[in-house]
Every structure is written in C-alpha cells, then in structure tokens.
C-alpha cells in the first residue's frame, strides 16, 4: 500500500482530494503547501511543537485498558486511547497548536476557524492565545445552541464567535463562511482548518499533525501487550482523529481498521451523516470526496446527535481507504451512540464525547466476533462535558 506517499504533489489521494478552490485562494494554498513542506522536517519546528504538546497539551496521552468493558462483553481486551485527557478536552489541540505555530511562521496575525461541536473552536481560540494571534470562529447558529458551553468558553478565551445563519446553520455552513472570510482577508489571515478535509495541503497536513495519536498508540500497545492490536476503532466525521489514529497502522495488514460514521436516525432515513456509507463522490470545500448529495448534485444536510460528526462529506484520504478496502466503514445510530456513552460512563467512570461514543456504540456488534486473545483499541477522541446537556435530554 502506497499510502505513506500520499497525497501526490497536487494533493490527490487516488481520484480524491485535490484543490478545487476559487482563484483568490490559490496563492494562499500554495504558500501554505510550501511553508508546510519546509517546516515538516525542520528540527526546530518539531522541537517547538513537541514542547507545546508535552508541556501544554498533556502528551503523551495514556492508553488505558478498559477491563470492565471487556468483561461486560465476555471476551477480548479493550484499550482506550485517552485523547479526552488532553487540554481543552479533545484531540483537536494537536492540530491547532501545530497550525498556530505554522501561522506565526507565515507571518499571519489572525486565524479563522470553523467549528461544529465547538471543540475545534475552543482548541483554536486556545492556540491563538498561546501564540498571540487574533481568532475568529464561525459556528452554525444551530450548533451554537447545542453547544452553548463551548461558545462561552471561546468568548472567555478572547475569540470572536460569529454565528452562521445560512444553509443548515451547522458545520458545513460554518466552513463556507470561514472560507469566505479567508478569501477576503487572505493576506494577513491563516485558515485554521480543523479536520483532514478542504483543499490541498490541509488533508495531508492535518493528518500529519494528528498522526501523533497513532504513533503513541503503537508504542504503547507493544509495551502493554507485546503485540499490535487486532482492531482499531474510531469515529469519522471529517475524520481527523481517526486518520491520525489509523495512519501509522495502515501498513500492518493484520490490524483490522474500522471507521464509524454517524447513522443519525438510521442510514435508511434522510437523517444521518454517513457520507461514505450513503454518499457518492462529489466536490465540496475544495476537495473531491464522498459527499451526501441529491440527484442534482446539491449538497444534503447531514444529521447527527453529535455536532462534531454532522458533516456531509469526509476527508479525501478516507474515501481513498474506503475504495481500496484497507479501512472498513460502518455507521452507528444516535441511539446506539448514547448506549455507548452510558456503558463507558457506568462501567469505567469515563464520560466520552458523543463523537467517540459512536465508536463505543459499535462494540456490541464487534465484540461477539472477537476471540479472547484479540485486542481492540478505541480512540477516545474527546470527553463528554460538552454533551451532558444533550445526553440529559435523551437518556
């Protein structure tokens, strides 16, 4: 598998990815690509980033064996990669610290970001604090209501949160608005994109910044169990925690990798966010990837109980991995995700965010198929504080 070398020089992962952007943004994308290539192997940059990741964000995160959870299923061993223990409560900070440093190197004074659940918004506002950058976060008006706590946090951190009232008023539209801002202020502004989506170089760059999750996991599981895992499980919205988690294992053919999409009320209803399971290739936000769209090519609204998975497309590398068969993609409903939340909370005393609760929601399907020697690792991408209100309404 050639994935180590992907994307190609134009940002393609097979037929996916690329750079479908208005001309005004081409220069910014090219500049960013060059800057990223230059710092990628720059020892000073890596050293500085490692410093912030270790002393500020709290890396490495632990790999915890969830013995009660495994006992509940009666077989296999289950480990959790605890990204929920990071500063700001999710894996998003890995990427925002890296891009914040990069923005500073590019001489930009302002960052704009989109956010769904608010986790990336909070992580962006935090990174902007650390690096002295002005920060504007676009957020769908519907999401602002669902995630009021995170909105308040961003404001406390000194960021300006701009509500987006267009379209579905969720992550998709917040992304449109962030791109419009970037087009307008491209000379002094860096677009701090929060997932492995968007035009080249973002999908590959954000993956590289998140790969720390998988690299640590690999070392930790070998140390803890003396072998590689049998299964990896992570939720996929745009797909940044999963891509960072999966990538270092892609060449290990014996590791079975499963990405979990949000099935909302069910993939046979119109209310889901399962782009890979139910979409077809299309172009949105500067990339070609699986996309939820109607027969005329208009983008459909995604639905998920978790704002962070509520996105009608997915990172182009996921589309590539789906077609190549290396990663299997499954969808888990709102109801099963809530069960996953409940299970982990009651058995292990860990409240997961509703995004990784989808991955946990797949365990009842997966575990009966495992052997007792099998090791399953779930990427626990964020903690559940932000979702308590939603959970309260449903459980």
């Amino acid at each position: 598998m050639k994935t180590r070398k992907l994307p190609d020089s134009k940002g393609h992962f097979g037929p996916y990815g690329g750079r479908y952007v208005p001309e005004t943004l081409v220069k910014a994308c090219e500049e960013l690509t060059l800057a990223y290539q230059a710092i990628k192997n720059d020892k000073n940059f890596r050293k500085e980033l490692r410093y912030y990741l270790e002393t500020y964000a709290g890396r490495p995160t632990p790999l915890y064996e969830a013995k009660h959870l495994a006992a509940h299923f009666g077989r296999g061993r289950i480990f959790l990669k605890r990204e929920d223990l990071l500063h700001t409560g999710a894996h998003k900070i890995n990427n925002t610290l890296a891009q914040g440093l990069l923005a500073k190197r590019l001489g930009k004074t302002r960052v704009v970001a989109e956010t769904g659940a608010g986790q990336h918004g909070v992580a962006s506002a935090t990174a902007a604090c650390v690096f002295g950058l002005k920060c504007v976060v676009y957020m769908g008006a519907v999401d602002m209501e669902r995630q009021a706590l995170n909105v308040y946090k961003m404001k406390l951190l000194g960021a300006e949160v701009r509500p987006v009232h267009s379209g579905s008023q969720t992550l998709k539209d917040a992304t449109n608005e962030a791109i419009r801002d970037w087009v307008t202020n491209v000379e002094d502004t860096h677009y701090l994109l929060g997932s492995v989506v968007g035009p080249h170089p973002y999908p590959g760059m954000v993956r590289d910044f998140q790969e720390v999750i998988g690299k640590e996991t690999r070392r930790q599981i070998v140390k803890a169990a003396g072998r590689l895992p049998s299964y990896l499980l992570a939720c996929v919205g745009g797909g940044s925690n999963s891509m960072g988690f999966f990538h270092p294992f892609l060449k290990d053919r014996d590791v079975r990798i499963i990405g979990i999409e949000a099935a909302g009320e069910g993939v046979s209803t119109p209310h889901h966010a399962a782009s890979i399971t139910k979409g077809r290739p299309g172009i949105l936000h500067g990339m070609k990837s699986y996309l939820l769209q109607d027969k005329n090519g208009q983008v459909l609204l995604a639905h998920s109980i978790s704002a962070g998975l509520d996105y009608p497309s997915v990172g182009p590398e996921h589309s590539y991995l789906k077609d190549s068969g290396r990663v299997a993609y499954r969808a888990v409903t709102d109801a099963d995700a809530l069960k996953g939340f409940d299970l982990l909370t009651k058995l292990e005393g860990i409240m997961p965010a509703l995004e990784p609760a989808h991955a946990l929601g797949y365990l009842p399907k997966l575990m009966p198929k495992t052997r007792s020697s099998d090791i399953v690792i779930v990427c626990l991408s964020g903690r559940g504080d932000k979702d308590i209100h939603t959970v309260q309404q449903h459980l």
Binding site: L25, V26, T184, V186, I283
Partner: protein
C-alpha cells in the same frame, strides 16, 4: 454550431466596443423571469450573459447571490432546466453569448463530458467554474476544448505573475479579472490597486480582460470599463431583481449605457 462568444469578441475588437456582461441566477425569481431578462438584456445592448446555476454551497459568493441561489434551489432548478432554457432562447433567435456559470459539483454529478456535449448542443457558448482551477479534471477540460465550449478562467488580485501568464494563456474568449479580495457582492469602493493589475494583465494578452466582483453603480462600471475591456455585474442586478423584473431591466439598461458610453 456558431459560437456567439467568439463572434461577439471579434466584433467588439473591430468596433472597439466595451463588453458588458450580466450575471443572472437561473430560476430567480423564476425560470420565466430569467428568460425574459435575457431577452430584454440582449435588447438593452448587453453583450454577454452569465447564466448562474444555483448551488447549495456557493463559497465564492456573498449574501446576495447566496440568497438568489437558495431561492432557486427551493424551486428545484436543474441542469436540464438550464439546457432547456438556452435551447428555447436559441429557437427564439437569441444570439447573445451565454456562459454557464456554476460550481463544479452539479456539473460533475450530471457527468462532466455529458454536460459539455449537452451544453454545447443546447447553444451555450462557454463556461465559468469558479472552483475548478485548470490543474484539476483534465478529462473535463479536454472535453471542453474538443466541443469548443469556451472555458473562461479567473485571475485574482492575489494571483502571482507566473500563474497569471499561465491562466491568461489557457483562458478562452476573455479573462475574468476578480476585482477584489473577497466574495461577490456590491461594494461602495473598489480596491486602489485594480488599475495596475488590469494594465499588467492587458500587457500579457491580446484577449479581452473583463472585471467583475463588487461593481454596482453606473459610475463604477464606466470607470472600470475605461481601464479594461468591460465589466461583469451580478449581485447589483440581483439586488434590483428583488424589487421586481422591471426594476432590474431599468438598472441593466442604465449600466449598459454607462459601459458603452465609456
């Protein structure tokens, strides 16, 4: 089939006539209104029509065109509607050059090559796809060349000289100069570096250079036509259209006189 864009540009060059291009959102407020506006624009001396195809996520557009697109999508406007409209106009004897203006996904969903073939046979003369740079979709670009559907490329204030040369070389018909950093929509003032950019582009190519984005008054249209080969007006037309088709028609006439008097 004749390409009216090619003919129009040759004529304009001979007569030293400035080009006035009007953008309309297909289906806003209705397909019948779009049809009427194209016919009345032709009478008012408009040189080129950009037929804007509505998309759910128009990320290069400001609030005005976002609004007209949303309204048109609510009416379920399809690519087939765009093709049928152009076919009808040609049957009625309309000779105004018509360019398809739209984001790539609806075209891709229709099938790139099928679209090029069907657009050309319906009587479209060219296309502008703001989110499709020349580096992507080689097959599609080839199909455009083969069918002689002219592909107009955009050059922005942020475009580096080397790239501008490449774009100018590849653009067919004319060059669309994006007059500002930002999204479409009426602006009170246009950037001061516009003249220098336009002059630089003019030195690179004998092809006409038209400026668009933000142009909303006859005064602006006149001034910018003097430093370019013409202007493209979209959001300002849609703003007038919100008050009714006659209001938009009067505005188009006024703008046409301003451009052609320049």
């Amino acid at each position: 089939m004749k390409n009216y864009l090619t003919i129009k540009i040759q004529e304009a060059r001979k007569k030293k006539r400035k080009l006035f291009c009007v953008f309309l959102t297909l289906g806003y407020p209705s397909i019948a209104a779009t049809e009427r506006l194209i016919l009345s624009s032709e009478k008012a001396g408009v040189d080129i029509i950009e037929l804007g195809f509505p998309f759910s996520d128009p990320l290069a557009d400001g609030p005005t065109i976002q609004f007209s697109s949303e309204q048109a999508i609510k009416k379920n406007v399809t690519i087939q509607d765009a093709l049928a409209l152009v076919r009808r106009l040609r049957q009625k004897g309309s000779r105004i050059p018509i360019l398809f203006f739209g984001y790539f996904n609806p075209v891709f969903s229709y099938g790139g090559k099928d679209f090029v073939r069907d657009a050309r046979s319906a009587g479209m003369d060219g296309l502008i796809i703001p989110d499709l740079p020349p580096e992507e979709e080689e097959e599609f670009q080839k199909a455009c060349r083969k069918q002689k559907l002219q592909r107009i490329l955009l050059v922005a204030p942020t475009t580096q000289d080397k790239r501008a040369k490449m774009l100018v070389g590849k653009s067919q018909g004319f060059i669309y100069y994006v007059s500002l950093r930002g999204v479409t929509g009426a602006r009170k003032a246009l950037p001061g570096d516009m003249k220098a950019h336009l002059l630089k582009l003019k030195r690179m190519t004998p092809k006409p250079v038209l400026a668009g984005f933000g142009i909303s008054t006859p005064e602006q249209a006149k001034n910018i036509s003097r430093m370019s080969d013409g202007v493209i007006v979209g959001s300002a037309v849609i703003e007038h259209l919100k008050r009714g088709v006659p209001s938009a028609e009067r505005f188009i006439e006024k703008m046409s006189r301003a451009v052609h008097g320049a």
